[in-house]
């Protein structure tokens, strides 16, 4: 696998909730081809959808816009970049580490923030670059876990 070039698959789609499932389908195809486990693929489907949901919800306001998703295959490492060019400052950075419900009572719970937490929990690494007026870029990475017996 050393010296193999990075392979890229790039899809561009409307920043609309109806199209996020297309990204999941593409992820399934690429991740299966790479040899990720069923569970890892299911985890990544949620993570990439959460990143896309953020672009859909926060990037473009009332206007139409585009989300670009790049899948980079680098040996057993998959990097997924979700990019939008929205004017609105997105919600991701504001959530910081993301939060769960573990230490809250039901009356104290506020809806929201779970998406970012899930992205971080389900991927090996998450990087967010966001600048007001320049859009947002989320990079999600995951490596295939191989047992000792397989190469």
């Amino acid at each position: 696998m050393n010296g193999e070039a990075v392979q890229k698959v790039v899809i561009s789609l409307p920043a609309s909730a109806d199209y996020v499932d297309i990204v999941r389908l593409n992820l399934y195809g690429i991740a299966s081809k790479m040899g990720f486990s069923y569970e890892d693929i299911e985890d990544m489907k949620v993570a990439v959808s959460e990143a896309c949901n953020n672009s859909v919800l926060y990037a473009y306001g009332q206007e139409d816009g585009t989300v670009e998703v790049t899948f980079e295959i680098n040996g057993d490492l998959l990097s997924i970049t979700v990019k939008d060019e929205g004017e609105s400052f997105d919600n991701l950075a504001a959530h910081g580490e993301g939060s769960t419900l573990h230490d809250k009572e039901l009356d104290d719970v506020q809806i929201g923030g779970l998406g970012f937490y899930l992205m971080q929990a389900l991927m090996d690494d998450v990087r967010v670059e966001s600048q007001a007026g320049c859009g947002t870029k989320v990079v999600l990475t995951k490596r295939i876990m191989r047992s000792e017996e397989t190469v």
Binding site: R24, N53, L106, G115, L118
Partner: protein, 111 residues
Amino acid sequence: MNTNKNEKFNATTESNDGTITVVLSGELDLSVAPEFRLMMKPLVEDSNHNLIINLKNLKYIDSTGIGILLSILKARHGMASQFLVEDVPSQIQKLFDMTGISKFFATKENS
């Protein structure tokens, strides 16, 4: 209602002995969230029935879907009315456990 969405997500309601069971199938994501919320509203507000959501045929859920379940939990809790989820697939249970919503769900076994 957008008929395209019915292929991706469906919610059927059964009424039995004072309990309403809503069976979900397909994918509960951002695209069907508004429709699902709207559909659930009268069922959630009905204090005369117990409410169960069955997830056995649910193939996918995202934080939007989990957020709706959480809203339902809070509303029913506020009404002192029962709300259960049942037949949760393992991948979805994993997400419930990770987010911490599991602790708020009674199961039929321990309700």
